[in-house]
């Protein structure tokens, strides 16, 4: 059903995001990266599956847990590491860092430090597409936590009444920082919230990259045909706490084990072996290439210059 090449492309992406996060966490521990760092570990299949179904002119709006979105959208690792390290060669010249990484050239309108803050911005990208009359789509990544913010309800409604080509990708990872979805909602099925706005929705296993890809492809088709918006709820689970310094002691051990057993990277690996016919050696080659690319990215970032203090001060001066 899927070509080996395509499955390899998906696996490579899953593995790249996993590697990027693990290696950057090391850099964080070594003091090369400062500030907040919210790993995407455990959720890699969502960004990978969604972005694989997009065209080059489409938009995405990302979140504070956004490294995976940026990589899957085609971000270059070296510019990403440089951004996380606050270097001039980074995507935002070191001004954005982990929480605000954006790459306008690939349609990544940016991560966001405000939970839910990007949702209306994505609707605006959809509005812009509609007024300009192009066939682009806008994908809004957001979380179970953000779905409790007022702008979620407002924005879904705006996208609905204006028939916008917007795909709401709800990454339901069970936790808003440390508060479990059960404490925030009468139902764990958050997709049901959009029924009242007459918006088409679906819900899937967010750890299964092909399920994510298939549903996104359908949603993209709907949006390009003027049948948007669509909401896709992807059930997933973080492999750790809210950020790198949060041990996540509130996350029950057995639940974490359950989700680690259905690790999105493992599932992608399985697809590649069983459907793609890739051998262990083929896969080891992919992984080695990613590892090398990551080594180079880190080397590049470490050797990149810091932003000029003078320029920085000039930018923040506002008289």
């Amino acid at each position: 059903m899927y070509s080996g090449d395509f499955l390899a492309q998906l696996y490579r992406m899953l593995y790249t995001i996993r590697t990027f996060e693990n290696r950057c966490i090391q850099l964080y521990r070594q003091g090369h990266i400062v500030g907040y760092f919210h790993p995407y570990l455990g959720e890699e299949a969502i960004a990978t599956g969604v972005c694989a179904a997009l065209g080059k002119d489409d938009y995405i709006v990302s979140t504070h847990r956004g490294h995976g979105h940026c990589i899957a959208r085609g971000g270059e690792l070296k510019k990403m590491v440089a951004e996380l390290m606050g270097k001039e060669a980074g995507y935002c010249r070191g001004r954005g860092g982990s929480m605000h990484i954006a790459d306008i050239d690939t349609g990544n309108l940016g991560a966001n430090g405000i939970v839910g803050g990007g949702i209306p911005i994505g609707v605006g990208a959809g509005l812009s597409i509609k007024i300009r009359g192009t066939d682009q789509v806008a994908v809004i990544f957001f979380s179970d936590g953000a779905s409790n913010n007022g702008v979620f309800a407002e924005s879904v409604n705006l996208a609905a009444i204006w028939d916008l080509p917007v795909i709401f990708v709800l990454e339901n990872n069970d936790y808003a920082v440390s508060t479990c979805v059960d404490e925030c909602s009468r139902t764990r099925d958050l997709h049901r919230r959009v029924e009242g706005y007459c918006v088409k929705y679906t819900h899937i296993d967010g750890n299964d990259v092909l399920a994510v890809y298939d549903q996104t492809r359908k949603a993209v088709e709907d949006c390009r045909a003027g049948r948007g918006p669509v909401l896709i709820e992807c059930k997933t689970y973080r492999h750790g706490g809210h950020h790198v310094n949060d041990p996540g002691t509130y996350m029950p051990e057995e639940k974490l084990e359950y989700f680690k057993a259905k690790d999105p990277v493992k599932i992608g690996h399985q697809y590649l072996v069983e459907q793609g016919g890739y051998s262990d050696k083929d896969i080891a080659d992919i992984e080695a290439k990613v590892g090398k690319e990551m080594d180079e990215a880190i080397e590049f970032a470490k050797n990149s210059p810091e932003p000029s203090v003078e320029e920085f001060l000039e930018e923040v001066a506002w008289d």
Binding site: Y59, V61, G90, Y91, C92, R93, G94, R95, G96, H100, A102, I104, L109, G110, N112, G113, I114, G117, I119, P120, I121, G122, V123, G124, A125, G126, L127, S128, I129, K130, I131, R132, A138, G150, V151, E154, S155, N157, L158, I161, W162, E315, V316, W318, D319
Partner: protein, 314 residues
């Protein structure tokens, strides 16, 4: 109402209202640039609460003149998203008081985007709203909140006081690549003034002397300009010749114009409708004393809204 110093030199002009001047400015920019569109509550067929967008829907259609639900935070955010992706939205918030609902999208998103993206992303959006007292609209519809936006890095703040300024400044605000908070005054919409037939714009950051004088400077903006001019006329009866300076845009502020006037008159009064605490007037006083301390013959005076009760009663 006072003439603008610039408009005195223009031959072909007519007298129109502030709201008509705004309408003309928006209409001309929509004709000139197809990426400009407007959205807000009741701005289409109804033409807006103060009739600023009257007739635009007939000329540009509902795709570019969009009525919104009462979802201020999200349609403002939609403006930000549209601006980032190549449009020039004009978002209308009915009353400046309601901007409390949109602060995240303005302070954290629109205002910070350019900086956060290392200058690669821009938000060419105009947020039009109106404030001030004058209609007996009580506590949630009468505030002067310019100091909020003045304080937030990354925003421009425009507050026109005459039809001439309103038109020239709205056109520049629409063409600007940064987010502009454009605050009109509800008691000025029917005010009349000369506006030229030919096209013109007013540079953001360029103030205007609304009345020349030599004895004292009143610095005022928006709805306080007619009041300052009336005060100046009254003082003229006592032989005091007052200069009235209107910065027109609070960010960027034409500090040079203000300082030049204060150095000349050696007396400064700053008149703002907003309450005094944490206001723009205090900041103006602070830079006057920094830059013109030796010229002052008397302490700087601030005339400001005293308290909430004034707002309700006026």
């Amino acid at each position: 109402m006072g003439l603008n110093s610039e408009s005195k030199n223009i031959n072909e002009s007519r007298v129109i209202m502030y709201r008509e001047a705004l309408n003309e400015g928006i209409r001309e920019e929509m004709q000139r640039d197809s990426t400009v569109f407007v959205m807000g509550e009741g701005i289409g067929e109804r033409g807006g609460s103060y009739k600023v967008t009257v007739g635009l829907i007939d000329e540009f259609g509902p795709k570019r003149v969009m009525d919104t639900p009462i979802s201020e935070a999200s349609f403002t955010g939609a403006g930000v998203g549209a601006a980032i992706t190549g449009m020039r939205p004009i978002v209308e918030i009915l009353f400046v008081d309601f901007t409390a609902l949109i602060i995240d999208q303005i302070a954290n998103q629109a205002a910070k985007y350019k900086f956060m993206t290392g200058g690669k992303g821009r938000v060419p959006m105009v947020l039009r709203t109106q404030g001030g007292v004058g209609k007996g609209l009580a506590a949630q519809h009468s505030q002067s909140l310019e100091a909020l936006f003045y304080h937030i890095p990354g925003l421009k703040v425009v507050m026109p006081s005459t039809p001439y300024d309103a038109k020239g400044l709205i056109k520049s605000a629409i063409r600007d690549d940064d987010p502009v908070i454009f605050i009109e005054h509800k008691s000025l919409y029917m005010a009349k003034g000369e506006v030229p037939e030919e096209e013109y714009t007013i540079e953001l950051g360029k103030g205007d002397v609304k009345r020349a004088g030599k004895d004292a400077t009143i610095i005022a903006w928006s709805g306080m300009i007619p009041k300052a001019l009336a005060a100046a006329e009254k003082l003229a009866e006592d032989g005091i010749d007052v200069e009235v300076v209107d910065p027109r845009t609070l960010v960027p502020m034409d500090k040079d114009l203000i300082i030049e006037s204060v150095k000349k008159t050696e007396h400064a009064v700053i008149a703002q409708e907003a309450v005094r605490r944490g206001g723009v007037a205090s900041d103006i006083a602070s830079f006057i004393q920094e830059k013109a301390f030796d010229y002052l013959d008397a302490p700087i005076e601030i005339v400001a809204g005293k308290k909430y009760a004034d707002t309700v009663q006026q």
